[in-house]
């Protein structure tokens, strides 16, 4: 039995190492600014916590294995020296690790580029479709009133108010098209229930909450097509609430905008 336990623990430890080192399935390659820093932080996490996993399982297994043939147990109530020592070590290690993460969080969500420089896109989640709205040449979004104006099958899913001139040049798309290398300021909204915009390749996720306009920044660094998934349970169609993000050159983006505005 003790040998079987030791072997089982070895097996589990090896399985853990295999899964996280060889990783037959893993993150998609990163394609946004800041994604590299997140990936680096995760690698650090793997070393520290993965290391603790291996050490923890093996120590547990060895302690149990070694105790199998003892003739009498060691009578000990513990040791304050050990308690203090391992408390200090764990506290230092975990808090140091946490602070590196807090710094990263600060860069991601607190230090934002000045508002004027970013491309503005509004994202709206509705059961079970994503809509991306661009303000057009005038740089201003038209008023929307979904309750009053977004009738089914009328091609106005966001309920754009035809009386508002600012909305005349708004572009509503079901794909998120962006130029490479520019900061994007997303305004995230939802029409009915909570959804969540998740773009794995950009390491981006933000819940979209009815009644709230949440801002989040994104800066794609590679051209290509990337998949968007919904990651907050929103009802029956949650599993198929997907969209496509296309990152294109500056030139192609301008042409796309022009083509959409002309419609």
């Amino acid at each position: 039995m003790p040998l079987a336990l030791l072997l089982a623990f070895l097996l589990i430890t090896l399985l853990g190492i295999y899964l996280f080192v060889v990783h037959p399935w893993w993150f998609p390659s990163a394609a946004a600014a800041g994604a590299g820093a997140i990936d680096h932080q995760f690698t650090l996490a793997l070393w520290i916590l993965g290391g603790l996993f291996v050490v923890g399982q093996l120590v547990l297994a060895l302690v149990v294995f070694r105790a199998r043939r003892k003739r009498s147990a060691t009578y000990s109530h513990g040791s304050w020296r050990f308690e203090i020592a391992w408390t200090l070590v764990i506290t230092a290690l975990f808090f140091w690790f946490n602070i590196t993460g807090e710094r990263l969080w600060s860069e991601m969500r607190i230090d934002q580029p000045p508002a004027g420089d970013s491309i503005q896109v509004e994202v709206t989640g509705a059961q079970f479709q994503w809509y991306f709205r661009y303000p057009g040449a005038d740089g201003a979004w038209g008023r929307t009133d979904a309750q009053r104006l977004a009738k089914p099958n009328e091609g106005n899913p966001l309920g754009l108010d035809p009386e508002d001139p600012a909305g005349k040049d708004d572009i509503v798309s079901t794909a998120l098209v962006l130029p490479v290398g520019h900061d994007v300021d997303l305004t995230l909204r939802a029409q009915d229930v909570i959804h969540s915009l998740f773009i794995p390749a950009m390491r981006f996720k933000q819940d979209t909450v009815p009644g709230m306009d949440v801002h989040a920044h994104l800066k794609p660094l590679q051209t290509g097509t990337f998949e968007i998934a919904c990651s907050q349970l929103c009802g029956l169609g949650h599993y198929r609430m997907r969209a496509t993000m296309r990152v294109v050159s500056d030139e192609e983006f301008k042409q796309w905008l022009k083509k959409r505005e002309e419609r």
């Binding site: 899964l19 149990v64 969540s196 029956l236």
Partner: protein, 574 residues
């Protein structure tokens, strides 16, 4: 003549009504135990259906037919609800706690026996109301056990969001009431009914965890009750605590205004995080207890364990925001919740070191309860170490609401918690039923479950790392999710094997109840007071003969002693 079953004794002594509505804490404990058993059977069946549907969506299940997407989400919701509330928040605390807290304290009954009885029957009604949701028009709710508004608040937002959700809320409301009543009982019993010489620092660690868990229950379930009432009012009385204006659901305008969906999340998680400690703390107490008994050694660092238990309980109320890093909550709040969540890792680590310290240098008896307790420590380490990853908002942005989180909480709460329940069942079975469970069957069950738990949940982390969101009823909606189907298939196969292995436990349990080897009063040679009574105890327990406690609870292998265990009520000179 030694009694074989406490139930038989009751039947002989009392009439039917008094028998069924008994206030005997031992029977109430068993009633909770069997209620949880029913809940875990339903909950496990649901998870089996979920796993099969994900990878074989066209499979036809006997009696059920083909599982539809809306069924899947209902199973997700009910699986979570049954397991978190009616299994993990019931059997460790109200099942084993009710039976053994008074006995371990040397008390003849809980402080409020009738309140105890009332708590069980309320919980049973709550369970029946929950199951009824499957059978109403629209079926059970599909919003997950977390019931985020507005999805949970608007009946037209999905099938099951009508009567099914109202029944869910009523069921949980009743469960909250029962939990608060039970908490009052546990707290009062621990403070007032410890017998002579049973000081706080001579209490077994099981009693400490039942006590702290009861305090958490009192404070947390009362919040959930409030939240459930507010949501019921939003749904039925025209209030708008959780819904803003302007909602358009399924082409129809929804007449709410002024509320905040985030308010539901704050209320829910203010309950929800202490809840996971309610679920796991009693299991930690059992693990500490059993590792000591079966290593024939005192608990390593008893005082530190008490401090760690209280720290986990206290800090558990300050970390709820780590469920909300990407919710739209002010990012500055993320700093505070992240730091506090890291803090709670420290007492958890202290406990782990002390468990290993208890085993170290022990003369280990490799019984089934010991195996499950060692398994608890292993699963707690594995599940716990992904906690600091999720505690960092920068990393949680990617991993939130993916299978990485599902793997994390299944390992550290569900599997570890389950292992402690198996350990406790094997350990206390002789005391409850007067018979021993079968060791060979128990060990075989352990091996299948231990290896199976890892086979299911260790690979699941990779699903999350690859970006696979939670609560997807099909794998066919998103391309990068479709690609992960082989990994999902492996997990399903592992789950089928592991779940099948649980039949061994059921067979062992029920066969042993009637045909197991007769148990003596103290078959494990354990020092705590419940083992001074017969197996099972007479219905009056200690009766008027209050035990006098002279020793700490874990005096094993005391140098120079005749035996390697010293009963807590042994004479003071020993």
């Amino acid at each position: 003549m030694e009694q074989r079953s406490p139930i038989t004794a009751e039947i002989k002594a009392h009439g039917f009504v008094r028998r069924v509505f008994t206030t005997d804490h031992k029977i109430v404990g068993l009633q909770y135990f069997f209620l949880s058993l029913a809940a875990v059977l339903v909950g496990t069946l649901l998870s089996l259906l979920m796993r099969i549907h994900l990878v074989w969506p066209s499979a036809v299940i006997p009696f059920l037919g083909q599982i539809q997407p809306e069924n899947y989400l209902q199973y997700v919701t009910m699986h979570g609800t049954l397991m978190v509330f009616f299994v993990l928040s019931t059997v460790p605390q109200n099942g084993f706690g009710n039976y053994f807290l008074p006995l371990q304290l040397g008390a003849s009954e809980m402080a409020f026996p009738r309140l105890n009885m009332l708590g069980f029957w309320t919980t049973l009604v709550a369970f029946l109301v929950l199951i009824a949701a499957f059978f109403v028009p629209g079926g059970a709710s599909l919003a997950g056990w977390t019931q985020y508004a507005p999805l949970s608040a608007i009946p037209s937002a999905g099938p099951g969001q009508g009567a099914g959700t109202d029944l869910w809320l009523i069921s949980i409301g009743l469960f909250c009431v029962a939990s608060v009543l039970s908490a009052i009982n546990f707290i009062t019993t621990t403070i007032k009914l410890r017998s002579t010489g049973m000081s706080w620092m001579r209490m077994p660690l099981t009693c400490w965890t039942w006590f702290v868990t009861a305090i958490l229950s009192l404070l947390a379930f009362s919040i959930l009750l409030g939240a459930a009432i507010l949501l019921l009012m939003d749904r039925n009385s025209g209030t708008s605590f959780f819904e803003p204006s302007g909602l358009l659901v399924g082409g129809q305008a929804v007449a709410h205004s002024g509320g905040s969906p985030l308010l539901w999340q704050h209320l829910f998680w203010f309950f929800g995080h202490p809840e996971v400690y309610i679920a796991v703390l009693p299991g930690m107490g059992v693990t500490s207890h059993l590792l000591s008994v079966f290593s024939r050694k005192p608990v390593f660092g008893y005082r530190a364990m008490v401090v760690a238990t209280i720290a986990i309980g206290g800090l558990g109320f300050m970390v709820w925001g780590h469920h909300m890093f990407v919710s739209g909550m002010d990012p500055h709040a993320g700093f505070a919740f992240s730091a506090l969540t890291t803090a709670i890792a420290v007492p958890s680590a202290i406990k782990t070191f002390n468990w290993i310290g208890t085993l170290w240098g022990g003369r280990i008896r490799f019984t089934t309860p010991l195996l499950f307790s060692v398994g608890f420590v292993s699963l707690f380490i594995t599940g716990g170490l992904t906690g600091p990853i999720l505690a960092q908002p920068a990393l949680d942005i990617y991993l939130h609401d993916t299978y990485f989180v599902v793997a994390h909480f299944h390992l550290i709460m569900a599997m570890a918690g389950l292992f402690a329940v198996f350990a406790a069942t094997h350990f206390w079975f002789p005391k409850m039923f007067g018979r021993m469970m079968n060791e060979s069957l128990g060990k075989l069950h352990f091996w299948i479950t231990f290896l199976g738990a890892y086979a299911i949940f260790l690979p699941m982390h990779l699903l999350g790392i690859a970006g696979h969101p939670r609560r997807y009823s099909e794998l066919t909606g998103v391309h990068y999710v479709m690609v992960l189907a082989p990994l999902q298939k492996f997990i399903t196969v592992a789950a089928i094997i592991t779940i099948s292995g649980q039949l061994l436990f059921l067979a062992n349990f029920f066969w042993s109840m009637f045909r197991g080897a007769a148990a003596s009063a103290n078959p494990w040679e354990c020092t705590t007071l419940e083992w001074t009574l017969s197996s099972p105890p007479a219905s009056h327990g200690f009766g008027s003969r209050e035990p006098v406690v002279n020793h700490a609870p874990y005096e094993y292998s005391v140098p120079g002693a005749e035996t390697d265990f010293l009963m807590q009520d042994a004479a003071a000179t020993q």
